[in-house]
């Protein structure tokens, strides 16, 4: 009878001991989680107020980020959306940190890999953001310079340049995230090379007459259309 009782109590004691070890870790996790969420909320609040003060929404409108957001069905103001994104990023980081307090080996490994991967995500986002701004700036500068030089197809060429630049930037950020880097590199090379080859074929073979007309139009009309004339502008 005593043996039977011991057989029942012993596992219960072990469970209780494990629970004794787990409970403080669990409480610590809850504290970290709640504090982290509060901290994330506070950061979101301050960030949104700061972005409002520096007129981030107007800047975002000018840079074309707002229209990109609208295309992606995000209807919040850019400052609000950025605040929310930062909030959820901090919540995810908090969850990961809080889970590590449970001290489980599998979880710990997962968390370590998460934090190792995080810088890559940041770098990829940074590449995308900088690339988007830079490609917009370059294509607009191209557009204005070509339009002033009298190129009728300035808009088309500048848009094509922006698409190519964005493709390159996308490939760079995908490579940074290590998402099938071999496939991304191959896809980019095929796509980029394909576009160039397609243009060459279209101009050189398929649209030889059209190509001749375009080249003739640009080469003969541009001196005529250039801004140099007989009047003194200043």
């Amino acid at each position: 009878m005593t043996n039977l009782l011991e057989m029942v109590i012993e596992p219960l004691e072990q469970v209780f001991l494990k629970f004794q070890v787990f409970l403080p870790n669990f409480v610590a996790m809850l504290i970290i989680l709640l504090t982290g969420i509060f901290f994330a909320w506070l950061v979101k609040l301050i960030l949104q107020k700061f972005l409002k003060a520096v007129k981030f929404d107007s800047w975002s409108d000018r840079m074309g980020f707002t229209s990109v957001m609208r295309k992606g069905e995000i209807w919040a103001k850019p400052s609000v959306a950025l605040g929310r994104a930062v909030f959820w990023l901090l919540v995810i980081v908090t969850v990961m940190i809080s889970l590590s307090s449970l001290d489980y080996e599998t979880l710990n490994k997962l968390i370590v890999s998460f934090f190792e991967y995080l810088p890559r995500v940041f770098t990829a986002v940074l590449i995308l953001f900088t690339g988007y701004v830079l490609s917009g700036f370059i294509s607009r500068a191209m557009l204005i310079a070509m339009a002033n030089a009298g190129y009728h197809y300035a808009k088309l060429i500048s848009k094509a340049a922006r698409v190519l630049l964005m493709l390159m930037i996308l490939a760079m950020s995908m490579e940074q995230l290590q998402i099938a880097p071999g496939i991304v590199l191959a896809a980019f090379s095929i796509l980029f090379g394909g576009i160039v080859a397609a243009l060459s074929i279209a101009f050189g073979v398929g649209g030889i007459d059209a190509a001749r007309r375009v080249i003739e139009k640009e080469s003969t009309e541009n001196p005529k259309k250039s801004n140099k004339d007989n009047i003194e502008h200043i």
């Binding site: 107007s58 000018r62 700036f137 607009r140 500068a141 557009l143 204005i144 310079a145 070509m146 339009a147 002033n148 030089a149 009298g150 190129y151 009728h152 300035a154 808009k155 005529k224 259309k225 250039s226 801004n227 140099k228 004339d229 007989n230 009047i231 003194e232 502008h233 200043i234």
Partner: protein, 421 residues
Amino acid sequence: MNTVTLRSETRAQIEKINQTDIVVGIPSFNNAKTIAHVVRAVQAGLGKYFPSLRAVIINSDGGSKDGTKEIVESSTGPDFNSILLNHRVEPVSRIAFSYTGIPGKGSAFRSIFEIASSLTARACVVVDADLRSITPEWMEMLIKPVLENGFDFVAPLYSRHKFDGTITNSIVYPLTRTLYGKRIRQPIGGDFGFSGKLAGFFLSKDVWDTEVARFGIDIWMTTTAIANSFKVAQSFLGAKIHDAKDPGLDLSDMLYQVVSALFNLMENYSDTWLPLEGSQAVPTFGFEYAVGLEHIPVTTSRMLENFRDGLFNLGDIWQTILGPGDFGEIQRLGALKNEDFVFGVNLWTRVIFDFAIAFHRRKLPAQQLIKSLTPLYLGKTASFINRARDMTAIEAEAEIEKLCMEFEQNKKYLVMHWENK
């Protein structure tokens, strides 16, 4: 105030001269073909009109490779017996040196201001080195109002072909007059007279590491003089004929240089121009006469083609700057035939004001914003040329006056949108 670094021999020359009454500055860069004529005209003018005053001619050179500086140093003076009534009592000193700092006309002027201040000059003149039409009378017209009438700044007034100076006529003159309330007809003329006091004031401004040092010095000088309540006047100098400008500089570059300087000054002097209303004529010296100017053949069809291509390519940018209402008007213009094309003064006024507001609100990078104005400016120029083709010079001037009045009457629009940043 940082001083200009001058070579020791230049410093020694200045110390030797010690004091002067008049300083004539000639900024130059590869002007070997014309500078000897300019120096001779200046010397003759000083001898004829100011024989008893001490004078110094300063050539502030930007590192010419064609011997410009050497020509200034070695050029002989005019034959006083053949052109003058009397000989100079005081000799004219000459200093030629290469300026330091950012390459540009502004840096060249800074050195001239510095030397004028060191020599405690009472009056200063700056004239371009590429002038072919300068006469000795220019010295009288630019210096006398300063020495004898107490003016601090004398702007030039030229006889120009009705189709010349279109950036001045359609943007710089109307806008400067509307903003600062003074009717200075050639704010970016380039040949100015000013007092020693104003030279010192120019020098005290901390702008010599900005774009002013490179370009935009002309409008900066004019605006600084008006906005700081110096006594301003203008003098009639006759025709202005000079060597062709740098052929590498295209229209959109020119437009950017001038308009960016104008818009930057609007930022700096907003407290001055925002409350001002209307404009006043400034005292004008000299006897105005008509000058026989060569006929200029101009084809407006290619300007209008540029305008329409601009509308097709830059339409999205223009809509952001002008708003849907005025952009709709521009679209309507784009659909008109060449012979029916009229860019109204009212619309043009709002276009310039909207670009100024967009610059103030940093809607686009400055260079892109202003360069995108080029096709609109060509449309306006073509419209003016078509309208003024059969007009006399006086009638064409009346058209410019109408535009100026439109600018003045619509200033409230600019002020309202400027303040609601």
